[in-house]
Amino acid sequence: MSERPRHSPLYALTKTRLLEFIRQPEALFWVFGFPIVMSIVLGYAFRDRPPDPVPVGVVEGQGSAGLVASLGKPGTIRPIVFPSAAAGSEALRIGKVALLVEANPELVYRYDPTRPDARIARLEADDAIERSRGRADVAKAREQLVREKGSRYIDFLLPGLLGLNLMSTGLWGIGFSIVDARMKKTLKLMTATPMRRSEYLLSHMLSRFFFLILETGVILAFGLVAFGVPVRGSFGLLALLAAVGGATFAGLGLICAARTQTLEGANGLMNLVAIPMWLVSGTFFSAERFPGALQPAIRALPLTALNDALRAVMLEGKGLVTLGGPLAVLAVWGVGCFAVALKIFRWQ
């Protein structure tokens, strides 16, 4: 009658977390489906293809037919004919064309020099016209085109999506489950048993690690198979980063759920934490685009640290010794959040 239990409390609590999670189809989608859908959509939008021809306006008049023929020759320019200089200028002003060419009879290039595409159009157009008029190049150069994997947008994006996913599942996976248990008074009921409170929180961590291995694996495998995104560094190091990142965001999730009494409240708090990092931490575009004054703050965010470290390992094949900075940032956030969360945690 009074025999020992079949499982340790930690095992039973972790198992409960896992069962709860896998019996929630919508949660499975957000963890596994969402990052894959996102990389398909973004990967398609930014897939490899030659750049679009630059639209260049030509004012109709003497010699305009010849200009159109010479501009169209290289295939990098799309000539558009305008009946008057006024119509062409209007198109230039609203950005329909990057450059307006007029043979009057001498050549006139009209463009905005502060627009990079206008300057490219000017170079391309001038080159095409000069060549067609018989210019001979004095130095012949051989061209070598580079389309190496690892330098495309999808290669930049995928490590960012991995980091983003580790953040979202850490925050929402832990936060919602704890707030739900608090609202249902399951948390209070658990504290009425001999369960150790640290075991309860640890069970959340362990179940996160379990899913973290799966979600990291799924995203990496998808990137490799669908887009050929390389992993140049070691898989062990990648696993370490995923584990440290997962633990850090679990800590953030814990702090968001530490005192919150409603799911709406928790959701708001977690959005408040997550959305700024979505934007500035270099998931979709490089964090270096922000002004220098903001850089120290952006570098101190856990998602920036995780994304930078994931990219360094996946794309540059960096080793552990170069990752001290990001790992330290993650560790400080993780340990700090756990310490504060445990202190302010509301069990009832």
Binding site: M1, S2, E3, R4, P5, R6, H7, S8, P9, Y11, A12, L13, K15, T16, L19, E20, R23, Q24, A181, K184, K185, T186, K188, L189, M190, T191, A192, T193, P194, M195, Q348
Partner: protein, 314 residues
């Protein structure tokens, strides 16, 4: 009842001078309590009387503002883990993970206790075998409440705490739960429960404390409390035309009377004295008797005579 006959039994639960305030509201106002090992003790009172606050303080889930508490001779401050392993607690309106099955839930709670009962046996005890693999979210109110008690029993506790165990249940589920609680007590264990159902207190409890405004206003066995009324019978009648309270109170053996709708409820010491006098009085004034019944006073009548209010009013 070995526990009760043992020499100098220390109380299973004792508290003295318990006070708990929530802001301006005094929920528990200097409450003393002693529960003997092996008895089923009931805290009886209307909603808002302070029963839940009291039981949660005794369960060590809430800290009192003042007062001294011992459970099984231990203090919560120094022996929390030991006490947790020896007590079984069922909270009012707690819910479980909807996506776990009944067995998984019991197994989880079982694993939280260092020793206890096999979950399969608990399922049988609680007549939940058929629902073994059903999701908790799909259970009826009665089944969920049985599961809650089953989880409280998972650690094979010495004391079982139940807060409003049958509130909101249908009569059938309520009787099933009563059988389970009686079975636990019959095995010599202690039960502390709160309720606002009179029948529940009368059926289950060896002793009852009537709680009102955070204080105990009467304590004893259900029979003692009723006997202390000095008016163990209630005469209920209605007449046309109605009579005045002065007329009724002038009758021999009448202790008290109150009116509800068109009916009078008269507390009397003996029926043989009061009933003929009442009938004679009505006859004399030419009033017609519309209904008449008598019953023995219950805890409900005790509560009304103590507070002047009805339990269900609040």
């Amino acid at each position: 009842m070995e526990a009760a006959s043992a020499p100098k039994t220390s109380p299973a639960i004792a508290c003295r001078g318990l006070v708990k305030r929530f802001g301006e509201v005094v929920a528990v106002d200097g409450l003393d309590l002693e529960v003997t090992p092996g008895e089923c003790f009931g805290l009886l009172g209307p909603n808002g009387a302070g029963k839940t606050t009291t039981i949660e303080i005794l369960e060590g889930l809430m800290k009192p503002d003042a007062g001294d508490i011992t459970v099984l001779g231990r203090h919560w401050g120094t022996h929390e883990r030991e006490l947790r392993a020896r007590l079984g607690i069922s909270l009012q309106e707690s819910r479980f993970h909807d996506r776990l099955t009944v067995f998984e839930t019991l197994d989880l709670f079982r694993s939280l206790y260092p020793s206890g009962r096999d979950p399969e046996l608990l399922l049988a005890d609680m007549s939940l075998e058929e629902k073994r693999d059903a999701r908790v979210g799909k259970l009826s109110g009665g089944q969920r409440q049985r599961l809650s008690v089953a989880c409280a029993l998972a650690g094979d506790p010495e004391i079982l705490f139940l807060d409003e165990p049958t509130t909101g249940l249908d009569p059938q589920s309520r009787r099933e739960l009563w059988d389970l609680i009686e079975g636990f007590r019959a095995a010599g264990r202690t039960v502390l429960l709160t309720t606002h159902y009179m029948e529940e207190a009368e059926r289950l409890c060896d002793r009852v404390a009537v709680v009102d405004h955070g204080k105990i206003i009467a304590e004893g066995t259900p029979a003692e409390l009723v006997a202390n009324l000095h008016a163990p019978y209630i005469v209920e009648f209605a007449s046309e035309p109605a009579v005045t309270p002065e007329d009724i109170k002038a009758l021999p053996g009448v202790r008290d009377c109150r009116q509800r709708d068109s009916r009078w409820f008269v507390s009397v010491a003996t029926l043989v004295e009061a009933l003929p006098a009442l009938l004679a009085r009505l006859d004399r004034t030419g009033a017609k008797l519309l209904m008449l019944s008598t019953h023995q006073a219950t805890l409900e009548d005790v509560f009304i005579s103590l507070t002047g209010r009805e339990l269900r009013d609040e």
